[in-house]
């Protein structure tokens, strides 16, 4: 009997219409846990690196995590992977909600698609019965709408449905996969799903998931729940409101948006409006949000309430979480939040990423203003700020006119448009749009995370360590007094020593070595979460979370029966981290790509940045170009990867960056 995982994957060949239930090797769970880890392993094994992201042989994987379907609170993530059409690297994106546990209960850890369906289809997984069904009647339908129609026609209100909208069908590079109150938005995996001809995957399961050591396991779960309750009653003091609690940023709960609207950038991530927030706006925004918000909701088995049911009069109801109420509003320079909720409804039905898409539109309007795009490109476009955005959103998801070029994201669009458009695509790393955030002084820890993160999305890398120093020694003492999550005392000392000004402040403090340690810890927690399917909102993302490096080994051991300690779990993390790095190295990722947007910080320190990267690579056991060395890989049971990189001559290449000092 398998514990934690089901021990089976569902392999679906869309070209041939073939469905197979395949037993998995338990050894892989020991090596990689599950979720992102085993997805990466399969991706490495199955496709050569030269493959186009839309090639039929690319496996599109929908995976649960190792803990999904157990009573571990918040273990509900679906980890979706393929190659990203936008970055051309491995693309992985997670969604919460209810889908992954349902898949586990249906008896599978992953669904792996290969090939392409000649016609639009949807998949119906009902325990042992799996059908590929015609979806021609769903063509062009909204993602939320699609889920409702499918549940209705299956007469299965308890089915969980992940679906794409029109954007995915049209292979828009910012297409998302939507599922209830959640979505896997980043890196264009919705486009890969659409390219394979899959409109939706509905799943219903009524089988058991087994726990190896039930008594120990439930005690650990109860501790996690107790700690969540404690944290909900005891927000972390002396940090900004949005950093005080657990969960993803509580954007559905909070109506006070002074901080975001005055510190995040408006338009094409350029304009800061320092005096935006006033009493009149505050009153209006509160009224709007409370009016459309019907209920605060959670994901499977989680007491938090990060999402909301949103019902705008005259529009169909949808669900929202996190930040998308503001991304469109701010990109379009609209001062009324009402617009944010309205356009997000359309965007959710279309199924597009709420971070990249508004930036693409703001970028296009800047190009128009600059005369790089012309009136002809915008023929028929209304002149008001709101109307403009609706108009362009419609063009992009339909790939009509200029929308066809913009649908590939700012990086590729700028390349195609030329005439200096590249300077306007200024907010990308590795070809992917970043948060609209521009800051003053370089923070060494954030520099490293932005530069080296394989997720290419800061919110999926950061967490655990405070974003800025505390003002007084009392505040620092208070912070570290109950910091049970810190893996080592040295992190507490950094918090105590970190100042706003002077020698021990950014960018030279935390020092290079400290920064590397901090980043490694933050990354580690994300990699573990993504393998276990635990929500980052209860673990790697917020300060002082209920899951951490000290209780995770116990929880994994009690669930699976594996004998795991902190060192063992760290070894698995290193294995998964290096495996994903190797996948991307094979796809061409080098040091030269590890470069945050030029204007992310006003004050840059090229020499320091070089030192930070050098030290980070060294710590990881990578060479100076960010490539895992043979020794590193061998020590992680990844000798086969070292051999492959060697055969390809990757170790003999000239460095991608000529160093000033060299």
């Amino acid at each position: 009997m398998r514990y934690g995982d089901t021990g089976y994957n569902l392999e679906i060949d869309l070209t041939r219409g073939n469905v197979e239930r395949v037993e998995t090797d338990p050894k892989l769970t020991e090596l990689h846990l599950g979720g992102l880890g085993t997805n990466a392993k399969l991706l490495w094994d199955r496709v050569p690196p030269e493959t186009d992201p839309f090639a039929p042989e690319i496996p599109l994987m929908f995976s649960s995590g190792l803990l999904c379907g157990t009573p571990a609170p918040g273990a509900n993530r679906t980890i979706i992977t393929a190659y990203s059409p936008q970055t051309l690297l491995m693309g992985y994106s997670m969604m919460g909600g209810f889908w992954a546990p349902e898949l586990k209960h249906a008896g599978y850890d992953k669904v792996i698609f290969r090939g392409k369906s000649p016609d639009l289809v949807y998949i119906w997984i009902n325990n042992d019965k799996v059908e590929i069904r015609d979806a021609s009647h769903l063509r062009g339908k909204g993602a939320v709408e699609t889920a409702e129609i499918i549940k209705e026609e299956l007469k299965e209100p308890n089915a969980q449905v992940a679906a794409i909208g029109l954007a995915g069908e049209n292979r828009v590079y910012t297409a998302s996969i939507e599922q209830g109150r959640s979505s896997a938005s980043r890196l264009g995996l919705g486009a890969v799903m659409g390219d394979k001809g899959i409109k939706a995957i509905a799943v219903r399961g009524t089988k058991d998931i087994y726990i190896a050591k039930p008594a120990e396991f439930i005690e650990l779960c109860n501790e996690v729940l107790k700690y969540i309750q404690y944290r909900n009653e005891n927000p972390v003091p002396n940090v900004m409101t949005i950093l005080q609690g657990l969960g993803s940023p509580q954007e559905m709960l909070h109506v006070d948006e002074k901080w975001h609207t005055e510190n995040f950038m408006w338009g094409n991530s350029r304009v800061r409006r320092k005096d935006f927030w006033n009493k009149q706006i505050e009153d209006r925004w509160r009224e709007v949000q409370l009016d459309v918000r019907k209920r605060l909701i959670s994901c499977y088995n989680c007491p938090m309430k990060c999402g909301a049911i949103i019902s705008v009069p005259g529009l169909s109801t949808y669900m929202m979480k996190c930040f998308s109420k503001l991304t469109y509003t701010m990109a379009a320079f609209v001062d009324d939040l009402d617009f944010g909720f309205k356009i997000a409804q359309r965007a959710t039905e279309y199924g597009v990423d709420g971070f990249s898409t508004p930036q693409i539109m703001a970028f296009a309007f800047e190009l128009w203003e600059a005369g790089i795009l012309t009136d002809a490109d915008f023929e028929g476009c209304p002149s008001d700020s709101e109307g403009k955005f609706y108009w362009l959103l419609d063009r992009i998801v339909r790939r009509e006119g200029i929308g066809d070029i913009l649908a590939d994201g700012t990086y590729w669009a700028a390349k195609k448009i030329g005439k200096g458009a590249e300077d306007f695509a200024h907010n990308n790393i590795k070809k992917h749009e970043q948060l609209p955030l521009k800051l003053g002084m370089l923070n060494p820890v954030y520099f490293l995370m932005y530069a080296t993160g394989e997720k290419i999305n800061i919110t999926q890398i950061e967490g655990q360590f405070p974003q800025s120093p505390f003002a007084t020694m009392e505040e620092r003492q208070e912070f570290i007094s109950d910091w049970i999550q810190a893996p080592d005392e040295k992190f507490k000392q950094i918090v105590l020593d970190w100042e706003f000004r002077g020698e021990r402040s950014n960018p030279y403090f935390p020092t290079v070595d400290m920064s590397v340690d901090i980043v490694d810890w933050q990354e580690k927690m994300h990699y573990i979460d993504d393998a276990l399917g635990v929500c980052a909102g209860l673990s790697s993302f917020p300060l002082k979370p209920p899951y951490h490096i000290h209780n995770y080994p116990k929880i994994i051991s009690a669930t699976t029966g594996m004998d795991l300690d902190e060192a063992g779990l760290t070894q698995i993390y290193n294995r998964n981290r290096n495996l994903i790095r190797a996948i991307n190295v094979r796809r061409g990722l080098r040091r030269i790509d590890e470069n945050p947007p030029e204007d992310h910080w006003k004050r840059r320190f090229p020499e320091l940045e070089e030192k930070l990267l050098d030290a980070y690579y060294k710590f990881k056991g990578w060479n100076n170009d960010g490539i895992p060395t043979k020794e590193t890989l061998q020590a992680l049971d990844l000798g086969y990867i070292a051999e492959d990189l060697e055969k390809r001559g990757i170790y003999d290449e000239e460095p991608s960056v000529k160093k000033a000092s060299a």
Binding site: K207, D208, I211, P214, F217, I218, Q229, S298, N301, P303
Partner: protein
């Protein structure tokens, strides 16, 4: 006539407005009733069921009540504050008209037992795991006429008889008794 007796009345107050739809109540109920305890999870076996239609803002936790062999003569449908709830949406019966409150493989009826195996003084598990206070446990003492407690096995057997007929069940029971007889 039955004797009057003091009895603890156990109530779970359900506050629909506070429910976030997380299904933690289902999870913990199914895990608690697993054999051995917490050795498995399967919300389809839980004795509380979240009736959820997020887009209609319908979130109703319903507790499994008595088994019934026949469905009601008619169905009820509630509209509250303009929101139309499912047919029989608030009904607790394990009834032939629907799938709710039946074991997924055997189809045997499920019934909330208020976690009777828990040590004295501990609140039912669904209440413990509902951190949003949508489920509130209350106890009070009342004088009631004592009724005969029907055992789970008996309820299960009754439902099998309803499904397959009396003779068939007796037949199979006899056969199984023969098979599982300890060796002489």
């Amino acid at each position: 006539m039955a004797e009057k007796k003091k009895k603890i009345i156990k109530t779970i107050k359900v506050d629909l407005d506070k429910c976030n739809g997380c299904r933690a109540c289902e999870v913990i109920c199914s895990a608690f009733h697993a054999e051995p305890k917490y050795s498995s999870n399967n919300p389809a076996r839980s004795r509380i069921r979240m009736i959820r239609h997020p887009l209609r803002d319908i979130y109703v936790p319903v507790y499994a009540g008595e088994y019934t062999s026949a469905e009601c003569m008619g169905r009820d449908k509630y509209i509250i504050d303009g929101k139309e709830y499912d047919e029989c949406g608030f009904c607790r019966a394990s009834c032939p008209s629907r799938d709710a409150f039946k074991e997924p493989d055997s189809g045997l009826p499920l019934k909330c037992d208020m976690c009777e195996d828990l040590p004295e003084g501990e609140k039912p598990l669904c209440v413990q795991w509902c951190l949003n206070d949508a489920l509130i446990y209350e106890e009070r003492e009342e004088e009631v006429e004592e009724d005969v407690k029907v055992e789970d096995v008996e309820i299960g057997l009754a439902s099998l008889i309803d499904k397959y007929g009396r003779d068939k069940v007796i037949d199979i029971m006899a056969r199984m008794a023969e098979k599982t007889k300890p060796a002489a």
